[in-house]
Amino acid sequence: MRILVCIKQVPVMAVPCLVQGRWTLQREGLEGQISEHDLQALEAALRLREARDGEVIVLTMGPPHAEEALREALARGADRALLLSDPAFAGADTLATSTTLAQAIRRLESPDLILCGARTSDSGTGQVGPQLAEDLGIPHVAYVEEVLLEGNSILVRRTVDRFRETIRLRRLPTVLTFLRIPNPPRQVPLHRIHEAFDVKPLERWGLRKLGLSPDQVGAAGSATRVIGFREPPAQRKARVLRDDPDRAVEEILQALDSRLLLNVQGGIHDRAHNPPES
């Protein structure tokens, strides 16, 4: 069984912040390089390989340092890695990213399954999985929680809009996107890290190898364009209290009184029945 896992390197968080009127980047450390949901996808791939014998190939599109994320995936157990990197790929939205990934997949030996992380509200939009499937003309199942092997069949379980579904994949390859799986990702043993750097193959492909033209990839191939970042507008005029917890509690009680018709006798009552002492 050949399983492809598309991962995205999570950047060490560099958040633009306004400091004394100037925009600067503040860095935030993150453990690991692979986004949480892609890790789930990788874990699912490794388990499937254990059950069925086969090969797990990890794939990412990114700048040269995205190789670190691939090394981590190899250390966690993937067999091969492919980095799609080219200056032309920069600035890609999901439309261009899915075009690039799909073309790379066409150039590899046909996989049985293609796994990615699903959307999360925290990182990424999760559009790449379905758009990849659309580009390749294959089905996708989103929000997969479990993959089950039953004889020759592959079944997946997922939850969508408060319904749990069990689906049999009748045709391969199929794209599966993962939200979470029951078991957490495994720890990485030390000798694996050594293998990741010395033994396992990592290829790098650019624009020419993929056979795409520059207007199909990167910013040129994107349909959307970022026009700016901004801080969310302050929605309410908050009165902010500091330092004096007792006073704070008093203010909170006053606010509750007037909003909830609490009165000095306690509890929530209709003011008409229990007018407050004034």
Partner: protein, 349 residues
């Protein structure tokens, strides 16, 4: 027969997600906002709806603001199947060429919209919290959370059409039902079902969820990472009981196991609109603040004076939730004690 006249001014379309209709209001919310976008674009707002026996939904959408309806009905369209519906909506878009296409950010919408956008080779912004028209060039400015919710990013789709966006439930407000409204309905020839469906659905069962009236509660007490522990959360439960409210939490609190996921308040969880929300130890990520924005009065307690939650709150307290909460609880219990004594006295009368 499909009428093939393209409307003079490309329209603003909203996809009619009519599953679980009376609970699932996202289409109505998008219709309301779509009307204001359409006005800014000097065009009309229409709904595109697929399915079987959808007469009542067509009428409801007209009542809630759709100025035109594009409908594709057939028995084989009864079920919301991503691939069939994507082909169907793409077909309708290709005929009528709307300028904007909005899809509700339900789970279905979030996996359906990308396939539609890819088939149309156009752009899609997910999870938009704002949508407005740039008056200088008529472009739809699509605003979504970025960097873990700390910032907003503004995106446009300069050349391709339609400009697509998904928006989660609770971001916009629906218009009231207007029984006097009327609108033209354009019927489109149905696309066929695909042969040899590659995905076989073996079983569908509704999730057994804890009964939760968080969304209807008048008082909500909520906690986040700053609560620190289960014990912290039990203080929230005590406060909620004293106020007759419900308890909710943010995603970090769910991940820590301090609160079940049915009580998660956030973009992928519940949206609340109580009279009062007391929120403790929640820094105020956009995914959370978007889900609480319809509260009448927000009281926030957090240790960090720069926490974004203070820009969403009406009353903010910089302090340790684990210090403020016991004081607040004691004060409320003291009042109750006074009341119980005086009730007992008047009973003895």
């Amino acid at each position: 027969m499909t009428e093939r006249t393209t409307p003079p001014n490309p329209e603003v379309w909203v996809f009619g997600d009519h599953r679980d209709y009376f609970k699932n209001r996202v289409t109505l919310e998008l219709l309301a906002h779509g009307r204001s976008l359409a006005e800014a674009l000097d065009t009309r707002c229409a709904v595109a709806v697929l399915g079987h026996r959808i007469e009542t939904y067509i009428m409801e959408y007209i009542a809630h603001g759709a100025q035109a309806v594009y409908a594709m009905t057939a028995p084989h369209l009864a079920h919301f199947k991503v691939t069939t519906y994507a082909r169907a909506l793409v077909e309708m878009v290709r005929i009528y060429r709307p300028s904007v296409l909005l899809i509700g950010g339900t789970d279905f919408g979030m996996e359906f919209a990308p396939r539609v956008a890819k088939q149309l080779e156009t752009g899609l912004s997910a999870d938009c919290v704002e949508l407005r028209v740039d008056p200088t060039n008529g472009a739809l400015v699509q605003t979504a959370p970025a960097f873990g919710g700390r910032l907003l990013v503004d995106v446009i789709t300069p050349d391709r059409r339609p400009q697509m966006a998904t928006v989660r439930p609770g971001i916009f407000q629906e218009r009231p039902h207007d029984p006097e409204a009327t609108a033209p309905v354009f019927y489109v020839d149905p696309v066929p079902l695909e042969e040899n469906d590659p995905l076989e659905v073996l079983e569908v069962e509704p999730l057994q969820e804890e009964e939760c009236s968080l969304e209807e509660a008048q008082v909500v007490v909520s906690g986040g990472r700053g609560m620190g522990s289960d014990q912290g959360f039990s203080l929230l439960h005590r406060l909620a009981r004293l106020l007759g409210g419900e308890v909710g939490g943010t995603r970090p609190a769910v991940i820590q196991g301090w609160i079940p996921k049915e009580r998660m308040i956030g973009q992928t969880g519940r949206a609340v609109r109580p009279k009062v929300l007391l929120t403790f130890g929640t820094s105020g990520a956009l995914q959370y603040t978007a889900a609480i924005r319809r509260t009448e009065f927000i009281i926030a307690v957090d240790r960090d004076p720069d926490a974004p939650i203070f820009r969403t709150a009406d009353l903010g307290v910089v302090g340790d939730a684990l210090d403020i909460l016991p004081r607040l609880i004691r004060a409320l219990e003291a009042r109750k004690g006074t009341k119980e004594v005086s009730d007992a006295e008047s009973a003895r009368g």
